[in-house]
Symmetry: C2
Subunit: 194 residues, 2 copies
């Protein structure tokens, strides 16, 4: 097991309905030293990609993205979730439908912060069905920029998001891929990535 | 002028209605090197406070808080904004009324992440009327923890938030205090903090 898988086993809580709670270190309370290790790991994986900007989405992606950005020495842009806003033509927008909640949401980024020259690393905390991620890819493509890599902390390998994104040809690196979880015993099985 | 005031003059945009846009480096695109300088500055100001945790609020506070946290070697907890949720008794909640938007919002933190032993540094990007900040202080007090300091990037000195918080006895340090702005000329006057 790598450092993140070990931490998930130690402090993650499996709940009924394939819910994995990692709010004590990842997405409510945030362990900055752990994020730093994640930054090191992503730097190793995307070292050759000439990344010049990191893109994430509010809210829980922002913390990881900022610490990862220190390792790449690049700025971070975060996409905002919008219900219904007056778009003044200065925004790239993507509509994403939540598989889980059956709701549609817009995510937006100001055009001036994504350009055709950008080599983007997308960072997020979780990947399950991949709706948010598909929206972020849309935004990058709308700008004519390139998605040079995607770094995820925890992927739910039993949901389709990861496979879809890999099938599309993107280099998607998840530091921990949960293959299965048992809500009764709390057992977590990770996909081997040796 | 300090490093942040210089950056505001260089890249901030003053708009009509006392709006200061700093989305190119602070709260949409985020300049991580600048955040690092802010972390250094806050460390200097709160060095003696034995801070063991940083509290912020989603979304735009999170990035700054995480980079500042590296300088204090402590975890970050971010309060979530909630419209109406099923509270299961495991959350501290504060109701805050937006002076600007006349709306009421709840902010919440899981009880397990704020304890009576905590010595909290509150970090946020903006302070104007101070509604969000008052809510964060409420949450810390509900937990019996101590607000040992408050670090703000940009304070609008012509709005009452800063004065209220200082009158309550808190050590509030804003790296830039805007005394006045001119929407026509774009001129920004900072409060001297020598």
């Amino acid at each position: 097991m790598n450092f993140l898988e070990e931490r998930i086993v130690k402090d993650g809580v499996v709940k009924e309905g394939n819910v994995l709670k990692v709010d004590s270190f990842l997405n409510h309370q945030m362990d900055i030293k752990l994020f730093d290790q994640m930054g090191e790991a992503f730097k190793e994986k995307f070292r050759e990609k000439n990344i010049n900007k990191i893109l994430t989405i509010e809210a829980s992606g922002i913390g990881i993205a900022c610490i990862v950005a220190k390792h790449f020495d690049v700025p971070v842009v975060f996409a905002k979730k919008a219900k219904s806003i007056n778009l003044d033509g200065e925004m790239y927008t993507a509509e994403v439908e939540s598989f889980t909640h059956k709701t549609k949401n817009q995510i937006i980024v100001a055009k001036k912060f994504l350009t055709a020259e950008d080599r983007i690393l997308i960072i997020d905390d979780f990947l399950a069905n991949g709706c948010a991620l598909q929206g972020l890819i849309q935004l990058v493509q709308a700008a004519g920029a390139e998605v040079c890599g995607i770094g995820i902390a925890i992927e739910k390998g039993f949901q389709p998001g990861g496979q879809i994104i890999r099938n599309l040809g993107y280099q998607l690196e998840s530091l921990a891929i949960v293959e299965s979880m048992n809500g009764e015993t709390g057992e977590i099985v990770f996909r081997s990535q040796e």
